[in-house]
């Protein structure tokens, strides 16, 4: 456990896969090229983005739902101890068992003990960010238990011995032929004539997993929503593997971050409207399960929830940053993020990629972590993530806030160099240019967002020092030059032409923008200073 200061620590950060330190040892050996990953990711983000815009546009009360979602989550955080205890009481009364885990290790240990108590060495799993965060699969494997991923994409990634590249479409970096080859190699008894038609591939997975579903005694899941007032849990999914895991085994172990709660059943109606449209761009996902403890003779009779802190209380400690806990993991912010689209999701060490990852990972694991400290800079602050977020998390605002914290920390460490040649500075200059670009079209400008400009530019103390690897872990193992070896602008000059798959109204010559915006950063900075302070917190959107 990482404590912030000596003596009695004030906050407790998390552990597990929330750091940008992870190298992917086998990754370089893979045959797939980064170009393919980038092209596929571009395709995916665009397609999902278009669908999302369409179904969100269908709802006349979308902004009202967002506001309700945001306000409900604020309430949850403000009263978290009460809601957690309420949930525990009601879930227990309904026949379930509640466990508490301070960190990833404890959560994994509890799960292992429960699995061992059932006397099995294999469990089935439905995709879960929380177990990815705690590194449960690896932990179980070390202890002689195999965790079988049942979500098709996770299954592909697991069979390929690879890592997910996107929160929502984790196998988007493989094309159908590669998937066929993986299946041919890894699935026992699969027909040698297996085609690369997605329907045939899905069928192969159906056959492979059917027996597992029918036989397995123990399943492990995440949770989309927990309801305090009723002690209910809900999981949202597409393929039916979730329903299999939640229905057929005798024992169900669910990992749940302490922030996943909703106060009442009535609140669930808001989130069930926000999540699918923001996430897969569907009006509703094919299957949503809701259950309240144990139902005699129907579904698992032995039900466990592990409530996990792992740094969440540290996030809660930051008045600005705590809104990151409102996240419902829809991935909308990633699909609209120009930086994510270019850097890709594969090049991150943390479970949480994209804009939300940039504010969540450093808070969960501590901004003091060398690689995490660069994450808040991996953004153009264009504001697209904020507009897309169904619970109105002001990601740009938190990014700016965390930049300040990162700089403060570096300064305290005596790590501080500063100056215009500093990569941070150049990064910000470029990003400021990029920001102008995105705001010039449909997106709101930074000024309209009311971001605190002075912090935006160089951090709270106006000078920024070390920058460990451009855009931190995001760009590792990509086919772009290692950034510290050359200036950012040179890097960008080479990268810019490859960059954009955005439509022409949004496409821009970044290099020209940088030139154009050369003086603007300093200017904006000075203006903000002259106005005597940072600009106020963004005004609430006018929506009703």
């Amino acid at each position: 456990m990482t404590a912030v200061s000596l003596g009695m620590p004030r906050v407790y950060h998390g552990e597990g896969n929330i750091f940008e330190t992870e190298a992917f040892p086998k990754y370089a050996a893979k045959e797939l090229t980064n170009e393919q990953l980038r092209a596929n990711l571009g395709f995916a983000t665009h397609k999902i983005r278009t669908k999302r815009e369409h179904v969100v546009g269908e709802l006349p009360d979308w902004q009202g739902l967002r506001t309700a979602g945001s306000m409900i989550k604020q309430r949850v955080m403000a009263n978290l101890p009460e809601y957690l205890e309420m949930f525990e009481k009601n879930f227990t009364a309904a026949g379930g068992h509640v466990h508490w885990a301070r960190n990833a290790e404890e959560a994994n240990q509890i799960a292992l003990d429960l699995i061992r108590a059932e006397g099995v060495d294999e469990v089935i799993k439905i995709k879960s960010m929380a177990t990815a965060e705690t590194g449960l699969n690896e932990y179980l494997r070390e202890n002689g238990v195999e965790a079988i991923e049942t979500d098709l994409a996770e299954e592909i990634v697991q069979l390929a011995d690879d890592r997910p590249s996107h929160i929502l479409v984790p196998a988007i970096h493989f094309n159908r032929t590669q998937i066929r080859d993986i299946f041919l190699k890894k699935i026992d008894g699969v027909s040698v004539d297996l085609s690369n038609d997605p329907a045939d591939l899905a069928e192969a997975s159906r056959i492979r997993l059917r027996d597992k579903f029918l036989q397995s005694k123990v399943a492990v899941s995440g949770v989309n929503f927990g309801i305090a007032e009723t002690g209910s849990l809900s999981i949202v999914e597409s393929e039916g593997n979730g329903r299999m895991c939640l229905t057929l085994p005798d024992t169900l172990i669910s990992f749940m971050g302490i922030e996943k709660l909703l106060p009442s059943f009535e609140d669930f109606e808001v989130f069930l409207q926000l999540l699918p449209r923001s996430s897969t761009g569907e009006r509703m996902n094919p299957y949503t399960s809701l259950w309240t403890g144990v139902t005699p003779g129907d579904g698992p009779q032995n039900m466990h929830v592990i409530l996990i802190d792992n740094g969440r209380t540290a996030v809660l400690d930051d008045e600005v940053g705590r809104q990151a806990l409102h996240c419902i993991r829809c991935s909308a912010c990633m699909n609209v993020c120009p930086v994510y689209e270019r850097a890709g999701g594969h090049a991150y060490g943390s479970t949480y990629p994209g804009p939300i990852g940039a504010i969540l990972s450093p808070q969960l694991g501590g901004i003091e972590n060398e690689y995490n400290s660069s994450l808040p800079f991996a953004s153009s602050l264009c504001g697209a993530c904020y507009d897309a977020c169904p619970v109105k998390i002001n990601i740009p605002d938190v990014l700016v806030h965390l930049r300040g914290k990162a700089v403060d920390h570096e300064k305290a460490q005596g790590d501080f160099k500063g100056g215009k040649k500093d990569p941070h500075y150049q990064m910000d200059a470029m990003m400021f240019g990029a920001k102008q670009l995105f705001s010039s079209g449909k997106l709101m400008s930074l000024a309209e967002k009311g971001l605190p400009m002075s912090k935006l530019v160089t951090g709270k103390d106006h000078k920024i020092s070390k920058f460990p690897g451009l855009v931190g872990g995001w760009t590792k193992y990509r086919d772009i030059p290692e950034p510290p070896k050359e200036s950012f602008r040179n890097w960008w000059k080479k990268e810019a032409p490859k960059a954009s798959r955005r439509d022409s109204s949004e496409r821009v010559d970044i290099q020209a923008l940088i030139e154009q915006n050369k003086g603007k950063v300093v200017e904006a900075h000075q203006q903000a200073e002259q106005r005597g302070q940072t600009i106020a917190h963004p005004a609430e959107e006018k929506e009703q």
Binding site: V169, I258, P296, G297
Partner: protein, 213 residues
């Protein structure tokens, strides 16, 4: 030594030492429909078809015949004990119904393996939300326990016209959360391979919806 629970609650309280007190959430979204019955039905059908479910219409008189047609290829199909028997076609030499008692602890309930060997399932439903194209099963006696609508590959689901609402909040009002709820919007699907939607992975690959007038 303090327990994990005490520690976590303690950490939360310390993190909340600024005592945030956000206001009561504003629920400025639609909770009652303004659509006509006909328009609501039309919307539901449109969305179901969009999700690749098959939609049919029937009356109490014609439903058995309709189900008979839909069960064409089936030899054995499962129904929950509470199903209205007049909906079901006569058993034939080639095809028979199997009742499921709905509780694995009771006699007359199929094992998972047995369920895997039936071709189809016929159930009622509790409420359907037109705006999202979602059918809610609430494990009532004519809907059965969760496994019977999951393991067989073909689900024939009856939606009574008077159970159709437009909005999610209206649907929620008709749900009892104390019993398991399964919300179904089309057959199971995946878009995991090149974002191409494929109907049917692990759940039923065919969803036939009969709107009962």
């Amino acid at each position: 030594m303090s327990t994990a629970k005490e520690d976590i609650l303690g950490r939360i309280r310390s993190s909340l030492s600024d005592h945030p007190s956000p206001p009561e959430p504003i629920r400025n979204y639609r909770r009652t429909s303004k659509l006509s019955k006909e328009a609501t039905l039309e919307m539901l059908v449109d969305r179901l078809i969009d999700y690749k479910a098959n939609v049919f219409y029937a009356t109490e008189e014609t439903i058995a015949h309709r189900i008979d047609e839909l069960l064409q290829d089936a030899s054995r199909y499962v129904v929950p004990v509470g199903i209205k028997e007049s909906w079901l076609p006569e058993d034939t030499a080639r095809r028979s119904r199997i009742f499921d008692a709905g509780n694995l602890k009771k006699a007359g309930t199929l094992s998972t393996r047995e369920l895997d060997s039936v071709n189809a399932v016929v159930t009622n439903s509790t409420v359907s939300c037109a705006e999202t194209g979602t059918i809610f099963l609430n494990t009532n006696s004519d809907e059965g326990r969760r496994a019977i609508t999951l393991v067989p590959d073909h689900h024939i689901c009856v939606v009574k016209e008077d159970t159709i609402v437009e909005l999610i909040p209206e649907a929620f009002e008709r749900i009892d959360y104390k019993r398991p709820v399964t919300m179904i919007s089309g057959p199971s699907a995946t878009s995991d391979i090149e974002l191409i939607r494929v109907e049917g992975v692990h759940g039923p690959r065919t969803l036939d919806v009969i709107i009962l007038q």
